[in-house]
C-alpha cells in the first residue's frame, strides 16, 4: 500500500550505493510556485462593481477575524467599571489599565499555569523535533535497513489512530499519569510532520549526501552540517506545528493530571473563562459581581494567544514556500 498523497515517489532505489539522478521537479519543490502579480494581458479589466464587491468581501473577511480578538484585547485593558457598565465587554478602553494583568501575573494559579505551559511547550517541541528529524532522516535514506516496514508502520497509523481509551490505558500502564511526561510522550511524533520532513529530505540532491560521505562525514555529521542547514524552512514550520499543539492542548491535562494545581494555561483557561468559575478559590472573592473578573478572564485569553502571535509572523513566510504542499501530490 502506498499513500499517494504523502508519497511522491515510492522507495524504489534498492541500494543507496547506486547513485540516482535527482528528477528536476524534486529540486523544484522548494521554489515557490510562480506568483501572478499584476493583471496578465489577456485578462479583461474587471468592472468597477466586481472590484468593489471583491474589496468588500476581503474587508469583511479580515474584520470577522480581527474583531473578536480586538474585543477580548480591549476588554482586558479596560477599567473594571467600564466593563461592568457595558455588561461584560469593551470596544475601546476609556483608559488603558494593566490592573488585570498585574493581578493574574503576581503569582497564583494563572502564573503557575503559564510557567507549566511554557515548560511543556519548550521541552516538548525540542523532544518532538529531535525524534522526528532523526526518524525522518533515516527513512529518507534510500535502502536503509528496515526502512520500508518502518515507513509502512508509520503510514498505517494514519488509517487507525489510537483512540482515547487505549492511549489512556497505555499511559496508565507506564505509570505516567500525574506526571508531565503524559503531556509530551503520547504525542511525541506526528506522522504527518514526519512525512513532511522526510519528503523534504528526499528532495535534497543525492550528490550532497555522497559528497559528505566521500569526505568522511558520518550520518550525524551529514545531518547536522548538510541536511539541516538546507531544511530551515521545513524545520521552522514543523516546529511551529509542534509548539502550537503543545501550547494549545487542554485535554491531555484533563485526562492525565488529576491535580488541578499541575494544570497548564489552556486547561486553567477552560475552567475559568469558558466554564465561568471564579479565578480565586477564595470564598469572599466568589461573592463579587460576576462581571468584576471579566477583565481578568480576558487577560488570561490574551496571555494564551500572545505567544502564538509572537512566533507566527516569523514562520508564516515559509508557509507559501510549498513546504506544506510539498507533502501533497499536486
Amino acid at each position: 500500500m502506498s499513500l499517494a498523497v504523502f508519497d511522491r515517489k515510492p522507495d524504489s532505489a534498492p541500494d543507496r550505493s547506486e547513485g540516482r539522478t535527482p528528477a528536476p521537479r524534486r529540486t523544484d519543490r522548494r521554489t515557490p510556485p510562480p506568483r501572478r502579480t499584476g493583471r496578465p494581458a489577456w485578462m479583461e479589466k474587471p468592472k468597477p462593481l466586481t472590484r468593489a464587491g471583491k474589496a468588500v468581501a476581503l474587508a469583511l473577511t479580515v474584520a470577522l477575524v480581527v474583531i473578536p480578538f480586538w474585543v477580548v484585547l480591549a476588554t482586558s485593558f479596560a477599567p473594571d467599571q467600564q466593563v461592568v457598565d457595558n455588561g461584560g465587554w469593551a470596544l475601546w478602553p476609556q483608559e488603558w489599565s494593566f490592573k488585570a494583568y498585574d493581578k493574574i501575573l503576581s503569582g497564583g494559579v494563572v502564573t503557575h499555569a503559564l510557567l507549566v505551559s511554557a515548560g511543556v511547550t519548550v521541552f516538548g517541541t525540542l523532544a518532538s523535533l529531535v525524534c522526528t528529524v532523526f526518524l525522518a532522516y533515516a527513512l529518507a535514506r534510500p535502502g536503509v535497513v528496515g526502512g520500508k516496514p518502518v515507513m509502512l508502520m508509520v503510514l498505517f497509523t494514519f488509517l487507525f489512530p489510537p483512540g482515547m481509551i487505549p492511549s489512556f490505558l497505555v499511559v496508565d500502564g507506564l505509570g505516567l499519569r500525574n506526571s508531565y511526561w503524559a503531556l509530551v510522550l503520547p504525542v511525541l511524533i506526528s506522522a504527518f510532520n514526519l512525512v513532511v520532513i522526510r519528503g523534504f529530505f528526499q528532495g535534497i540532491p543525492e550528490e550532497l549526501y555522497e559528497a559528505a560521505r566521500l569526505d568522511g562525514a558520518g550520518e550525524l555529521r551529514t545531518l547536522f552540517t548538510i541536511v539541516l542547514p538546507l531544511s530551515k524552512a521545513v524545520i521552522a514550520v514543523v516546529g511551529l506545528f509542534y509548539a502550537v499543539s503543545y501550547w494549545n492542548d487542554f485535554f491531555r491535562a484533563v485526562l492525565y493530571l488529576d491535580d488541578a494545581g499541575m494544570w497548564p494555561l489552556q486547561t486553567v483557561m477552560r475552567q475559568y473563562v469558558t466554564q465561568g468559575q471564579n479565578l480565586t478559590d477564595d470564598a469572599s472573592a466568589a461573592g463579587l459581581a460576576v462581571q468584576a473578573p471579566q477583565t481578568m478572564r480576558m487577560a488570561v485569553v490574551v496571555l494564551g494567544t500572545v505567544p502564538i502571535l509572537c512566533v507566527y509572523p516569523f514562520v508564516q513566510r515559509y508557509f507559501a514556500k510549498g513546504v506544506l504542499t510539498g507533502a501533497v501530490k499536486s
Binding site: 500500500m1 502506498s2 499517494a4 498523497v5 510562480p34 506568483r35 502579480t37 493583471r39 496578465p40 489577456w42 485578462m43 479583461e44 471583491k54 468581501a57 476581503l58 473577511t61 479580515v62 477575524v65 474583531i67 473578536p68 480578538f69 474585543v71 477580548v72 457595558n86 461584560g88 465587554w89 470596544l91 532523526f134 526518524l135 532522516y137 533515516a138 536503509v144 535497513v145 528496515g146 508502520m153 508509520v154 497509523t157 489512530p161 489510537p162 482515547m164 481509551i165 487505549p166 492511549s167 490505558l169 550525524l220 494549545n248 487542554f250 485535554f251 485526562l255 489552556q266 477552560r270 469558558t274 462581571q291 480576558m298 494564551g304 494567544t305 509572523p313 508557509f319 501530490k329 499536486s330
Partner: protein
C-alpha cells in the same frame, strides 16, 4: 547484501530511528492492542490481561443503547452540515484570494485568515462567548436592555449551526492553502488560450479552473467523508455542558464520558472501535468510488 551486513552498514541510522520506532510501537501499536478491552469486562485493578472475556457483549449493549444512537445521529448531522456549509467556503475564499492581483493585499489577507487556525479551541470558544454571548458584544451593542437579541450560547437549537460557524471562523482560511497551491499549479497558458478563444471569466472558471483542481477537491472530499464520524472532539467537549448532552453529545464525547468519566471501559472502547471500523470502511469505499470515476483518490 545480507540483512546482517546491511544492519552493520546502517547501524548509525538504526540508532537514529530507535526512539521514533519505540514511540510508534508503544503509543500506537501497543495502544491498538489495548483495544481488546472492547471484548472484555475490563477491571482496572486486574489489568487488561486479567480481565474476563465477554465476547461481543459490549457491542450488543452498545447497539441497544439509545444514548449511543442519539450521539451517532448528532455526529452524522453535524458532519453533513460541515460538509455542506464548511467544505465549499475555503474553495470560494481561495478563488477570491487568487483573483487579487496586488501581491501585498493578498499576502496581508492570507496572514490574517491563517491565524485563527493556530489559536486553541479554548480561546475560540472564549472569543465566541465574548462576541455572541448574553453578556457579549453584539447583545450589548444591538440588544435593548434586558432582551437578548442573539440567543445562541447555551441554546440547544443553535448548537449545530454554531459549531459550523466556529469551524468556519477557525479553519476556513487555513483550508485555502491547499486550494491555492492547486490553483497556482494551473497552467496560465490554458487561461490565455481560453481568453483568446473568447471565454469570459465564468467560462474560464468552469472549463479551466474547475477541471484543473478537481483532483484536489475529490481528494479532500474523500478524506472528509472518511472522517464523517469525527466532528471536533475538543470543540464539542468544551461546549457540551453549556448546551446539554441532548444536542451536543457526539460519538467522541460519548466515549469520553462513558469510559474515562463513568468507568464503563469495555463499553466505551467498543463504541470507539465501532466508530473506527465504520470510518475505515467509509474511506475505502469513497476511494473506490473515486477510482471508478477516474480520479486518483488517496491511495492506490
Amino acid at each position: 547484501m545480507t540483512h546482517l551486513a546491511r544492519l552493520r552498514r546502517d547501524r548509525a541510522l538504526v540508532l537514529l530511528m530507535a526512539p521514533g520506532i519505540a514511540y510508534f510501537l508503544v503509543f500506537h501499536y501497543v495502544a491498538m492492542f489495548a483495544n481488546v478491552i472492547a471484548f472484555k469486562e475490563y477491571v482496572p485493578f486486574v489489568g487488561v490481561g486479567g480481565s474476563a472475556w465477554v465476547g461481543l457483549d459490549n457491542f450488543q449493549a452498545l447497539l441497544g443503547d439509545a444514548g449511543f444512537w442519539a450521539a451517532a445521529l448528532n455526529t452524522v448531522l453535524l458532519s453533513l452540515l460541515q460538509i455542506v456549509f464548511f467544505f465549499p467556503l475555503p474553495v470560494a475564499l481561495a478563488m477570491l484570494l487568487y483573483s487579487v492581483t496586488r501581491g501585498s493585499v493578498r499576502k496581508f489577507v492570507q496572514s490574517v485568515v491563517y491565524l485563527p487556525h493556530f489559536v486553541s479551541w479554548v480561546i475560540v470558544v472564549a472569543l465566541f462567548q465574548q462576541v455572541l454571548g448574553g453578556a457579549g458584544l453584539l447583545n450589548g451593542l444591538f440588544g435593548d436592555g434586558n432582551a437578548h437579541l442573539i440567543d445562541v450560547i447555551g441554546n440547544p437549537d443553535a448548537f449545530k449551526p454554531l459549531m459550523v460557524v466556529e469551524l468556519v471562523w477557525k479553519d476556513c482560511g487555513w483550508g485555502t492553502i491547499i486550494i491555492l497551491a492547486a490553483l497556482h499549479n494551473v497552467d496560465d497558458g490554458l487561461y490565455e488560450a481560453a481568453a483568446i478563444d473568447g471565454a469570459g471569466p465564468w467560462r474560464r472558471f468552469w472549463h479551466v479552473t474547475l477541471p484543473s483542481i478537481r483532483a484536489v477537491l475529490v481528494l479532500l472530499l474523500i478524506l472528509r467523508l472518511g472522517d464523517v464520524l469525527t466532528v471536533g472532539f475538543e470543540q464539542i467537549l468544551l461546549q457540551r455542558d453549556a448546551f446539554g448532552a441532548d444536542a451536543a453529545e457526539v460519538i467522541d464525547t460519548f466515549v469520553y464520558y462513558q469510559g474515562i468519566v463513568q468507568g464503563n471501559w469495555g463499553f466505551a472502547a467498543a463504541a470507539a472501535l465501532f466508530k473506527g471500523l465504520v470510518g475505515a470502511v467509509l474511506v475505502f469505499s469513497a476511494n473506490k468510488i473515486a477510482h471508478r470515476l477516474g480520479e486518483q483518490g488517496v491511495y492506490r
